[in-house]
Symmetry: C2
Subunit: 322 residues, 2 copies
Amino acid sequence: MTSRDVIAGVDLGGTKIYSLIATVDGDVLGSDRCMTEAAGGPAVVVQRIAESVRRALDAAGSSIDAISGVGISSPGPCDPSRGLVTDAPNLPGFHNIPLTKLVSEALDVPAVLENDANAAAYGEYRFGAGKGFDDLLFITLGTGIGGGIIIDGRVYAGASGAAGEVGHLILKEDGPPCNCGSRGCLEALSSGPAMAREASEALASGRAPGLARIVGEDVPTMEQVYEAARQGDAACREVIQRGGRYLGLALVGLLDVFNPRALILGGGLTNLRDLYIDPAIEIARRGAFPQVIADVTIRTAELGDAAGALGAAALLPERLPR
Amino acid sequence: MTSRDVIAGVDLGGTKIYSLIATVDGDVLGSDRCMTEAAGGPAVVVQRIAESVRRALDAAGSSIDAISGVGISSPGPCDPSRGLVTDAPNLPGFHNIPLTKLVSEALDVPAVLENDANAAAYGEYRFGAGKGFDDLLFITLGTGIGGGIIIDGRVYAGASGAAGEVGHLILKEDGPPCNCGSRGCLEALSSGPAMAREASEALASGRAPGLARIVGEDVPTMEQVYEAARQGDAACREVIQRGGRYLGLALVGLLDVFNPRALILGGGLTNLRDLYIDPAIEIARRGAFPQVIADVTIRTAELGDAAGALGAAALLPERLPR
């Protein structure tokens, strides 16, 4: 294969590394998953990334000569133009680490990076649910709530690379405190941990007997809260529906502000289709401007956890110095 | 003067038309203000626009030969690519009216159009408070709350030309009803009419004696509410400060989502500096991500009501078919 035949992407997480080799059309030819071993610090993590890429190349029946470089999806704030991970709370020692330079040296090919939400947005735009929609808003719903913005077919990263951070729209002035320091942010109302915490409170006060049957004395996970809700626990249903309602209110504002051609919802919470995603979309459809709703396609993401690595890989050609 | 020396812009409003002739650097050489006579319908309005442009040219000591075309800032939804005013509630008969074609025929020069908030955003970007900031969010605060987005130095209009409609971010689920059909939108909490309505309620229940001294039995205007607040009326101060607080909460979310290089606040309510604008900016600075705040310049608009006409005029070169 020539150097233009395949692309290589890495999704670097605080716990796991996911590397893949794909065709230029986004078909995954081979992949590798391994532990990040973040505690070892940047030098260890860089070595793990390089080994993972080599294993993915092996799995794809390819070799390092077949790729023109590696695209890295990086957690937390980063500076793509300088290839720096500026700060990654889940990666000890990663403060202003020149990750692209280090990975490039380890593999002897160029590397570029982009933050995980932006990379996933670009992945869905190029290969997934957002294909063909040049102005696109991608929202990831899970432990946190974040997002990425594609404008005119390109990642819009903003002045600090932070654009798309939709999780901190304030929806309830006196709402629950958020990690960001504000109260009543979308993330503090509609993320998995936010809903699990509310269900815990219902559990503690004896209002969630269905959940109690599932978890006993344990702290419930979001999966267990959803399971209890599906089995009919009224308090758990209410918790999830409230989370979906706030998500819907946030979507109204975001759709009116961005007027995107597509809104793509990704992340683990998209599994909560009936009680969370569908009602949120319904609120958005009723609340946003009719013309905005008429012109937007709303879909759930298609690439799952491959979105970040695929998006980062696809960014390589335009980001590499010529 | 050659055709590249001066630019011509028109701000079409429901009540007034404002035309200006300016240098390519945005210095206004001559202008004209006249009544729209909207009740006369599109044909009359087009004639008024043409006459106004001719008077502005006279005032500038210039002539129609000196301009390469006219840029029009249009109220309400429009379709710049087809030159259509799709719907303008304040302009009777303006439904899918090919305004650029009609004005172009009346003046025998090309015309382009853009919606007023986008045109004003572009004006401030090219000639005003946003000069040099390629990623910019412009918010206009007055009777309504709207805005425009500049990304990479260009108007980002979105799929329907509605992008930048920040007035319908929902901040209070059970808040006052908004014209858009939702409740607790920014516009329903922090616009001039929203605050004047709240002050009216305080007046009616006898809680605003300072305002009562100013307006007697009349319905108060926002200017009178502000005057009463400055003279010490506690209820009026509280109304304006609450409006400013919700504006601040909206700015937190907007800054985190857009991560712009500049945030420009325009419109009549920017006169309420001490009780409204400054507290809102302070809330935004405390609540948004530190890096986002570090990288943004927040300013009030500089061009006043010339922003729309100047912005529309400046859009002409890139919008005209070559």
